[in-house]
């Protein structure tokens, strides 16, 4: 059987990785003479088996990494004072929430950083889309401005944080701006490229149908570039958080960045890790929301493609 259908057996092996439904449609079924109902049950059974296998592997990996860390530091093969310890991190997180910090409660710090990151993200993304679409659709504008964009992109923009501290002090404006600057470039380059990738045939067709330039931007260019823009938003939110944190570390009166600096000042590795864990959770929640937004805005795409970036 296998000799006669080498391709079918290959598909069945791959199906462990993908969904096992592929093996049911991808080649001749290795199990003949089954009623349709039985076959559906079998497919769903195989699919669940595949899922459990993946979950099992993921759990095992987590146990090995976190357990190994805990074990190595508990045995003092690795210094827990320098590198932290999972139980210590959890305990530190608990005390942070219970006792707060010298400059206010822990949730308040989270909210401050979140506010800076979200506002920075919105400002940067809006500016990036606006500039990307304008420069992508206007050849003259792009010729004039693109060398400057390249120069600004080449300089280490994170250092602008120092300027913003000098200019705007310890408040949230400077943090928002640094986050916005970092987000802008990611979104801008994607929006620009997305606009350039629009099928000229589709634009020609819209023009013949009577579209004015604004019609083309609204009905053709922007939706077409949206695939690119949305893909960039995932990375961009990460940059917004980094921008807000770094700006806080450079000088602030509130925020998670300040919690990190304080922990660093007291040689509190667990404290730094605890904030990192908090930020990771925030980013994952943002990622979840962005994925929902992506599904909604890009509902027109074939399912398999819109699922791919969600991994």
């Amino acid at each position: 059987m296998n000799d006669q259908h080498p391709s079918a057996s290959g598909v069945a092996e791959n199906a462990v990785f993908e969904s096992s439904a592929a093996s049911m449609t991808g080649g001749p079924s290795p199990l003949p003479d089954l009623a349709a109902g039985t076959r559906t049950n079998l497919a769903s059974k195989l699919r669940w088996q595949g899922r459990f296998k993946v979950w099992g592997g993921q759990l095992l990996l987590a146990v090995v990494i976190i357990g190994g860390w805990q074990w190595f530091t508990a045995e003092h093969w690795v210094d827990p004072f320098t590198y932290g310890q999972p139980t210590g991190i959890v305990h530190r997180l608990y005390t942070l929430f219970r006792d707060g910090t010298a400059f206010g409660s822990y949730p308040e710090q989270i909210l401050v950083t979140l506010q800076e990151a979200v506002y920075g993200f919105l400002i940067g993304a809006a500016a990036g889309i606006l500039m990307g679409v304008s420069l992508g659709t206007n050849r003259y504008l792009s010729s004039v401005i693109s060398p400057y964009i390249k120069v600004v992109n080449a300089i280490p923009r994170i250092v602008l944080g120092s300027i913003f501290v000098v200019a705007f002090g310890f408040g949230i404006t400077g943090k928002m701006l640094l986050a916005a600057v970092l987000v802008f470039f990611v979104v801008f380059f994607n929006a620009f490229q997305g606009v350039r990738e629009v099928d000229p045939n589709v634009i020609a067709n819209a023009r013949v149908l009577g579209a004015k330039p604004l019609h083309i931007i609204r009905h053709v260019t922007l939706p077409s570039a949206m695939t690119w823009i949305i893909a960039s938003l995932h990375t961009a939110f990460g940059f917004a958080i980094v921008g807000a944190l770094v700006a806080e570390i450079l000088g602030s009166e509130k925020g998670l960045g300040l919690v990190i600096t304080t922990a660093q000042g007291t040689f509190d590795a667990d404290g730094v890790f605890a904030v990192m864990l908090t930020v990771a959770v925030i980013t994952l929640v943002a990622e979840f929301i962005l994925t929902r937004l992506e599904r909604r805005l890009l509902a027109w795409r074939p399912q398999s493609r819109s699922d791919a970036p969600a991994i």
């Binding site: 067709n205 013949v208 009905h219 053709v220 939706p223 077409s224 949206m226």
Partner: protein
């Protein structure tokens, strides 16, 4: 007598383009189009092209690959400007996107992020109709191309033939005087192509706009057209013009192929086209001509 006809033609011209197919004469007169290649050479795509399409006529343009057929059509639609010569539609020279012209491309020009209904409704919306009017009209056209019930699908959910029908509805909804088709069925399989050709003929017999139709398929050209224009290999120019006197309505394009008159015309045009195709092939394949 002459003033009567001129008065009639003026009256016809003054009607709106949707109501009057008579202002739909397309004329190319000594048209050339040259491009500057990136290496700085001048490339002549078409040279001294002269032909006319009468109002309501179905004209097929055949010629070897790369002979400038598509270039000629982009000049008629106003997407491009001729380097010399004049292109006129309904007696006025084309300057910018010509009014009353629709274009159907070989590749899908449907917007993948819009539903079938929204795609067809684009033409009227671009021309300032309200959303409600545009959608009502789009629904009507989808019904006419046999796609009632598919309004909410996205293009990627349709078969190749169905997408072509959507494109046809999207092109015809503006009630064009002139419909330009650049190998519209080139990417379809032979059976689907035959079905689509029949449907195109049936629709066209209702609306009777002038059609310029590019194809590589000589059978398709003879079966559909009233006039076949044969172009030479690059730089393209008009070699021969044949008027096809097969009676209308033509009926099934698959059946008409067996009529003696069809075979005779097909053979005659192929004799003219063959030299050009061989020359074009030799030029691209590097075989001495």
């Amino acid at each position: 007598m002459t003033w009567v006809t001129s008065l009639l033609s003026v009256a016809a011209m003054s009607l709106t383009h949707g109501a009057s197919p008579h202002s739909a004469r397309v004329e190319l007169n000594g048209v050339s189009k040259r491009f500057l290649t990136p290496s700085g050479d001048v490339f002549t795509a078409i040279q001294d092209v002269t032909f006319a399409v009468e109002p309501g006529q179905f004209c097929a343009l055949v010629g070897p690959t790369g002979c400038g057929k598509s270039t000629s059509l982009s000049l008629v639609s106003g997407l491009d400007k001729p380097s010399s010569g004049t292109v006129s539609v309904g007696g006025t020279a084309v300057d910018g996107i010509a009014d009353g012209v629709s274009f159907m491309f070989q590749t899908d020009a449907l917007l993948p992020w819009k539903s079938v209904l929204a795609n067809v409704a684009l033409g009227p919306i671009f021309r300032g109709a309200s959303k409600r009017e545009a959608q009502a009209s789009a629904r009507d056209w989808l019904r006419r191309v046999g796609l009632a019930g598919f309004e909410d699908r996205y293009p990627h959910q349709l078969s190749g033939g169905m997408r072509k029908r959507v494109a046809m509805a999207a092109a015809l909804i503006n009630e064009p005087r002139i419909l330009i088709m650049d190998e519209p069925f080139g990417a379809l399989d032979v059976q689907t192509k035959a079905i689509m050709s029949n449907e195109l003929l049936a629709l066209w017999e209702q609306v009777r706009c002038s059609v310029i139709f590019i194809t590589h398929d000589l059978d398709e050209a003879v079966a559909l057209a009233d006039r076949v224009v044969v172009m030479t290999s690059s730089p393209g120019t008009v070699k021969d013009i044949y008027d096809i006197d097969l009676p209308r309505p033509r009926g099934d394009v698959q059946e008409i192929r067996f009529q003696p008159r069809f075979v005779e015309l097909q053979r005659q045009i192929w004799r003219s086209l063959r030299d050009e195709v061989e020359r074009a092939y030799a030029a691209t394949a590097g075989v001495p001509a």
